[in-house]
Amino acid sequence: MTVTTVRRKGLSVPSYIFLLAPAVIFMLLMYAYPFIASIIRSFLDKSGSFSLTNYIKTLDLYLKDIVFTFSVTLFNTTLTAILATLIAVYFRIRQNRITRILSALYKLPLFIPFVVVAQMMNSFLAPHGLLNIGLAQLGLINLEKPLQLFNFAGLSFGFIWKQIPFAVLIMHGGFQMIDNSYIEAARSAGAGMLKVIIRILVPMNKSSILVSLVLVYSQIVGTFTLPYMLIGGKIPTTITVDIAHRVNYFRDFGVANALGVFSYLLVLLTAWYYLKTKLGETK
């Protein structure tokens, strides 16, 4: 309605302003404002004046958790990178009944929310959970001393479970687009399978591999549900769990925001790469 009236009156306001304005105003109020506020408030003390107390307190209490978050993220991104690339390459060079079953299988976890994944892992990885029972049945472990997995290891299992399918999905499209003739040419020049993968397939699909890793990395830094339900307040835990504790138990928004800024800093590089690529694509 607004668009027609404006046009009829011949005003010079372009009509896309009216199309964009509602969504943009919503994002400014609900995203840009809280984002900027989270940074500003991290530098304010309880009385509202500028200070670094929140940062001093954060480093004092949570340095261990910041390091933990970073190592969990780095470890799982690397592991996802290696495994997902191998699986995606395998789907590219072999096409038979097994790969068809597998590629359907690898799609299952894609949309399962983290809260469900967390509950699954909570029961599956428990000291008396299905994994320990299964391993004991195979004689691999002693049930009197079950694997303790509510820590780095279990968290990684959960992240890998959810992230590999996602990374494979992103890489898959890129690998399918590589023409067979490249592979055949390299083959006839005498290259082995490994060489074809390292020298041809992976380099040609570099951009989608990188994008998938960047997304996996920033998702792991930001995930709250899985560490919260799996590790909770135990030490060490992730930044996201600390933020929740700071807010829910202490109503301490200053330290919560300082922790938030640390989580921004952890993703700074990947965020820059992601924004650069996506903005480049749409031009």
């Binding site: 809280p34 072999r94 097994i98 994994l131 921004y264 992601y274």
Partner: protein, 277 residues
């Protein structure tokens, strides 16, 4: 391919990979299924000694038994459903015009607008929720259903804008121009030509926003607690003391995710999945 020798060796590796993938992906899901029917499961038995569907019946409101001391999930289910429906309606009402504008107009500050819609995917969202909580506490929206809906719209609108603008971009402008050249007004052209062509993409993005809202946890945790108990939050709060109910709810939430995956996989662009959960 002919350069892969040692066929038997390869087949063995493939079958090992298949079995391992099966165990890894279905193992945790099986754990949920077993827990959802476990009446008695004493350690170290590999399987529950007694099974019952009472937890399912109770959770779904078919049976009321005080013995297993449980809550019905029916109210949480309808609350989640209602929130998701309103979220889709509002988010799409905001996202469709914005997506259309981004696809069809040359906007001088376009990069800045895109930047705004990309930010939530690039940075952790939890600090945003923390600061929305402060804002909503002042506005008396914290712990209310409208407050939760606003947060769900925020999570959904990003996907909404990206998917709809990609959809509109894929429709050649010549179609609309052809309609205009035979005398259709811009509105007729849009509603008669562009909109029907875009319908599948718009539907996909609506379903996407719907599922995001149904599954949303972190934002609801900060803004909604303790008064707005959606399905994911009911799952969380029963997870500590009632494994059976938590498992039933987890399985109920699993169904739409898997159905949706099969539904959408044709139109699916991998990166959209990024911000889920």
């Amino acid at each position: 391919m002919k350069w892969i020798n040692h066929k038997l060796f390869l087949k063995t590796i493939e079958i090992i990979l298949l079995v391992l993938s099966f165990l890894m992906i279905f193992g945790p899901m099986m754990s949920l299924v077993l827990w959802s029917v476990a009446q008695k499961w004493y350690w170290p038995h590999p399987l529950p000694q007694e099974i019952t569907f009472d937890y399912w019946k109770q959770a779904l409101g078919i049976q009321k038994s005080l013995a297993i001391g449980a809550v019905s999930i029916v109210p949480a289910f309808f609350l989640s459903l209602g929130i998701a429906v309103v979220t889709v309606l509002v988010a799409m009402a905001l996202a469709v015009p914005a997506g259309y504008a981004l696809a069809k107009y040359r906007i001088p500050f376009g990069t800045l607008v895109m930047f705004l819609f990309l930010m939530p995917n690039a940075f952790p969202q939890q600090p945003i929720f923390v600061n929305i909580l402060q804002m909503f506490t002042r506005l008396r929206l914290a712990g209310t259903i409208p407050g939760v809906i606003l947060v769900h719209i925020l999570v959904g609108i990003v996907f909404g804008v990206w998917i709809t603008s990609a959809t509109f971009r894929s429709i050649p402008p010549s179609m609309e121009e052809a309609a205009r050249s035979v005398g259709a007004s811009p509105f007729t052209a849009f509603f008669r030509i562009t909109l029907p062509l875009a319908a599948p993409g718009l539907l996909a993005s609506s379903v996407f926003v719907f599922i995001t809202s149904l599954d949303e946890f972190t934002g609801t945790f900060f803004i909604g607690l303790p008064f707005v108990n959606t399905l994911p939050l009911t799952l969380y709060s029963s997870s500590g003391y009632n494994m059976q109910f938590a498992s039933v709810i987890a399985l109920i939430l699993l169904v739409p995710s898997i159905l949706f995956m099969f539904l959408i996989q044709r139109v699916l662009k991998a990166e959209y999945v990024g911000g889920m959960g």
